[in-house]
Structure formats: structure tokens, C-alpha cells
């Protein structure tokens, strides 16, 4: 219902143009003696212009055709017929179409520019917020340590762990931003090589805190099979998936990571417990800057999962989020395109 209404508002300019066309027809008809055919032709361009500035090519074609038909049927001799005696008028019709086309293309460019600007602004906003959150942790904690000379060792260590974790978070965000720029330029070439997911995990886990590593993560990975893919991007994929799971899991619950090789695909599954989640919203969680509502207190730009999706797509795979009874499971399937020949 809502959606329909929105669609109606979005396309209301077409109805405006139709109304204008009707008025023009009326005026032209009443004053046909005083207005020359040239002027009548020119005012028939007005509806075309009205629609074209909205940048919708289909709508432009529709209104241009309609204008031409009205103009032809009512004013071009022979009157009240679609046939055209003087072929010069065919040129008029072509000019209608050209005008419509030029304006539509220009309008389209303008629209994308505005959209990009909006995106850029929200990006800046998110980055500054997301960088500032860990930075304030670092800053505050360091000041606390500096001010307390007699702090006991254990407290100090805990605080240092916090600093370490915050700095790792900043590092990940920066990596993600750089990668996101790279992944969204169209001509990216994957650097294919033989990848071992166990090896990749080893690299990924170095970037998480000791506690996350030892207490909160359960890993299940089957025996060695090599996968033909981009090692750096797959590392980034696993990092983001884990980061996301840690961020949104209920505190002190286990994260389960499973990597299983089948004959034609590799399946990566990562599960974290969380509060109840609206299933409809799960579809959007791979969109850039999308975050589930009521997660505002958690630092994150929503950029991580969008990058996961790009990486999976680049490898020809699928990624989806599934709601389980007590949490979310993100499931990735990567097709196996090449099998390793071993000694």
C-alpha cells in the first residue's frame, strides 16, 4: 500500500505532463487560426521537456510519442489522420525525439551526481563517527593509565587490552574503506592463487584479541583442501565475518565458525547468538551503510558485510543471512572452479 503510494508520488510528473498536454491541445485548438503551425509545434515540446528533466528514458519516449501523435493527428495536414503529406514534418518529429533524449541524458547525469554526493556525505559522517569511537577509547584509556602510577598490573593489562582492541578496530575500518574503494571500481582483477582456509584463519585470528580467540570462538574446519581464489580478499572476507559476529553477538556467548569443503563448493558458516531479529530486515544487511535498527550503540559502518558480499560475488558465490532460533547465521557458498593437483 505504502509502496504504491510512493510509486505514485514518484511518477506524478507524468500526470502533470499529460494535463499540460491536454491544456496545450485545448489552447492550440481554440487559437488555431492565430497560432501558426510552427508555434503549435513548439508548444508541443513543453510536455516532453517536463517529463525529460526527471531523467526517465521510458517516460520520455512515451510522452514524446504522445505529443507527436497529438500534433500530427490534430494539426498536420491532412487533419485528423496519421498520414503525413509533407515529409518536412517527419523532421519535426525527429527533433522532438532528439530534444527529449538530450534532456533526459543530462538529467540522468545530474541525478547520479546528487546521489553520489549524498553517499559521500553519509560516508564521511560514518567514518568520522566510527574512527572517533575507538580513538576516544584509546585516548581516554591512555590518560587513565598515565594518571595512575600505582595501578596494579592486572588492571593495567586489561586497559592495555582495550587499547589494543580499539586500535585493531581502527585498522580494520581503514582496511575496509580502502578495499571498498578498490572493490567498487569496475575493473578489478582477482589475484588467483591456491588458498588454504586454515592458513587464512591463522592470519585472521592474529587481528583479534586473546579473549575472543581463546574463549569465544569455536572453529570447525575440515582437512586440507586448497581453494583457488584471491588470498588477500578471502582473508578480508573471514575477518569481516568474524568482526561482525563478535560485534553483534550477545556478550560472552560463543561464535561458531565452520568451513566445509564439498565436491563443487566451499561452505563457510558463521553463527552468533543475538536478540530476536526481524527476518525481513535480514535481506538488507549486505547493503552498504545498512545496519539493523537498535544497534546504534555498536560501532560499525555497515561497510564490512557489503564488502563481504562484493568479495563473494567476485568469486562467483552466494552469501545470505539466516535467522536461527537464537541468533544469526551468515552462510557463504563459494564454487570450486579449479582442483589442485598434488604430488
Amino acid at each position: 500500500m505504502n509502496q504504491k503510494k510512493k510509486n505514485y508520488i514518484k511518477h506524478s510528473y507524468i500526470f502533470k505532463a499529460l494535463a499540460v498536454l491536454a491544456i496545450i491541445t485545448l489552447i492550440s485548438h481554440l487559437f488555431r487560426e492565430h497560432l501558426d503551425i510552427i508555434n503549435i509545434g513548439l508548444i508541443h515540446i513543453i510536455p516532453v521537456v517536463i517529463v525529460a528533466i526527471h531523467g526517465n528514458m521510458k517516460a520520455t519516449i512515451f510522452i514524446t510519442a504522445l505529443s507527436v501523435i497529438f500534433f500530427n493527428f490534430l494539426y498536420i495536414p491532412p487533419l485528423y489522420s496519421f498520414s503525413v503529406h509533407n515529409e518536412l514534418y517527419l523532421w519535426s518529429f525527429i527533433i522532438f525525439a532528439v530534444v527529449g533524449w538530450i534532456i533526459t541524458v543530462q538529467a540522468k547525469n545530474l541525478h547520479t551526481q546528487t546521489k553520489q554526493n549524498e553517499l559521500r556525505e553519509s560516508l564521511l559522517h560514518i567514518i568520522s563517527h566510527d574512527l572517533r569511537t575507538p580513538l576516544s577509547t584509546i585516548h581516554g584509556t591512555i590518560n587513565l593509565i598515565l594518571a595512575n602510577d600505582n595501578m596494579d598490573k592486572k588492571d593495567r593489562k586489561n586497559l592495555l587490552e582495550d587499547i589494543n582492541y580499539a586500535s585493531l578496530r581502527m585498522k580494520r575500518l581503514i582496511t575496509n574503506l580502502l578495499d571498498s574503494a578498490r572493490l567498487h571500481s569496475d575493473d578489478i582483477d582477482l589475484e588467483y592463487e591456491w588458498c588454504d582456509f586454515e592458513d587464512i584463519l591463522g592470519v585472521v585470528l592474529k587481528d583479534f584479541s586473546q579473549k575472543q580467540n581463546d574463549e569465544l570462538l569455536a572453529i570447525e574446519i575440515d582437512d586440507l583442501s586448497l581453494f583457488w581464489g584471491d588470498n588477500i580478499l578471502l582473508t578480508q572476507l573471514i575477518t569481516n565475518l568474524l568482526d561482525n559476529a563478535f560485534k553483534y553477538s550477545k556478550s560472552d556467548t560463543k561464535i561458531e565458525l565452520k568451513i566445509v569443503h564439498f565436491t563443487s563448493l566451499v561452505k563457510i558458516e558463521i553463527f552468533n547468538q543475538s536478540e530476536h531479529i526481524d527476518k525481513d530486515k535480514l535481506k538488507n544487511i549486505f547493503d552498504k551503510f545498512y545496519r539493523l535498527e537498535d544497534t546504534n550503540d555498536i560501532s560499525g559502518s555497515g561497510i564490512g558485510l557489503a564488502i563481504c558480499k562484493s568479495i563473494v560475488k567476485l568469486h562467483g558465490g552466494e552469501i545470505k543471512a539466516v535467522a536461527r532460533d537464537n541468533g544469526i547465521s551468515i552462510e557463504v557458498e563459494l564454487p570450486i572452479t579449479k582442483k589442485a593437483t598434488l604430488l
Binding site: D199, I200, I232, A340
Partner: protein, 229 residues
């Protein structure tokens, strides 16, 4: 006797940080902000180790590494920005001993400096056994022991582990390992290396997803770590 380290770095703040740190940790240092000056200092002062930034204002740090390797085996540690994996690999293949990326932690840098200096000292007086954590290799019999027991290894696993044990605490590029263990012509056969690193980890690591010996340097190669002493 204090050891002398030559710093080749054109970023003044990084250079200053390095000088102060090295002084704090009982090293002497001299520094140059360019390639040419560095070569002069190297020849006149014969430092024990070099720290070389790859992006120098008067040229590529790799050229300096190449020139130095023509005349000397002095350990070289490369400093580089992230996202420079290809540069790092090229520098290591040219004979640099190790690398560290900016921003770096001082402790990590010091660990790498010490490891490189220790390796240099070891090479000068080869002992009977190589010890690394709970691994021990008898150089005469070539047997490798883990927790006191002889390890059961396939010939290639044995060769690979031997190579690692002889080059501990040093970043080894994929190419270098493949060339040394499998031979010339195998430099690009990554699937062999991945496979054997995986099976070797199963035999010597407690948890192969959290390795303590064979550490992966993503996009570059492996480092066999012996800090578990």
C-alpha cells in the same frame, strides 16, 4: 661492545623515533636520508645491520639492497608501507633479511633486529644442534626431534622443516621456499607449499589455526618463529 645500526630513512619523524629507540636499547646508530649517503656510510663504518626504507627520496631502496648484497651479507631489515606486498617480496628476494610495515611497533622491530643479529652470529659459528622451541635438529644426522621424540616426516616435509629451522625468525618469501626446498622451476607451484605447510603444522603445532611456529605473512610468505623459548 655496542652494535652499530645504519638507518636509511627520509621521513624525519620516523628517523628520529628509530634513533631514540635504538639508543634507549643500547645500540649505536648512524643515519642517512638517501641512497647515496647510505652507501658511503656503509662502506666507511661497516655497520652490523641496516634498516632501509623502500621509498627514498633519491631513488628506490631496493637498488641499495642490491648494491649492498653485491659486497656484503650484513643483515638488512626493510621498512615499508602497507599495501606494498609486491615491493616487500621484491626486496626480500633481492636479499633483504626481514621486513616490517609502518606503522610498526617498536617491540616488533627490536625483536626482528635481535633475531637478525643473532642469526648472523650463529652463521659465524655453526653448532652441532639447531634448537627452536620444542624442536631440535641434529645437524650431523639431520634427524629432527619434537618434544624429545623423533618426528615422522615425509621426505618433503623433512626438507621443508629443515629449511625453516635453518632460517628461523626471518621472513621467507613463497618463491624462496619453493626454490630452496623443491628446486629451481618450482617457484610458482604454490599448491605444494600450501599443502605441505598445512600437513607440517598438523605435526608440530598445538592448534594449526593458531600456529606458534609456522606463521603466515599474508601475501608474502612464511616466518618460522622460535620465540617460544
Amino acid at each position: 661492545m655496542k652494535q652499530l645500526i645504519l638507518i636509511v630513512e627520509d621521513d624525519l619523524s620516523v628517523k628520529k623515533l628509530l634513533e631514540i629507540t635504538l639508543k634507549e636499547y643500547q645500540f649505536n646508530s648512524i643515519s642517512s636520508d638517501g641512497k647515496k649517503g647510505a652507501m658511503m656510510l656503509f662502506l666507511t663504518h661497516t655497520p652490523d645491520l641496516l634498516i632501509v626504507d623502500l621509498g627514498l627520496s633519491d631513488g628506490d631502496g631496493k637498488e641499495l639492497i642490491e648494491q649492498i648484497r653485491e659486497v656484503s651479507k650484513t643483515p638488512i631489515i626493510v621498512l615499508s608501507a602497507r599495501h606494498d606486498e609486491k615491493e616487500i617480496i621484491a626486496a626480500l628476494d633481492l636479499g633483504a633479511d626481514d621486513y616490517i610495515t609502518k606503522p610498526f611497533s617498536i617491540n616488533e622491530l627490536l625483536a626482528r633486529i635481535r633475531a637478525a643479529l643473532r642469526r648472523k652470529a650463529q652463521e659465524e659459528n655453526i653448532s652441532q644442534n639447531v634448537l627452536c622451541g620444542e624442536l631440535e635438529m641434529n645437524l650431523a644426522s639431520r634427524d629432527i626431534f619434537f618434544k624429545g621424540e623423533k618426528l615422522k616426516l615425509t621426505p618433503i616435509e623433512h626438507e621443508l622443516l629443515k629449511y625453516f629451522l635453518l632460517h628461523t625468525n626471518k621472513t621467507l618469501t613463497h618463491k624462496q621456499i619453493l626454490k630452496e626446498v623443491w628446486g629451481v622451476g618450482y617457484q610458482n607451484e604454490m599448491q605444494y607449499l600450501r599443502t605441505y605447510v598445512n600437513t607440517l603444522r598438523k605435526k608440530i603445532e598445538e592448534d594449526s589455526t593458531r600456529p606458534s611456529y609456522i606463521k603466515t605473512e599474508s601475501g608474502i610468505g612464511y616466518r618460522f618463529s622460535c620465540n617460544k623459548e
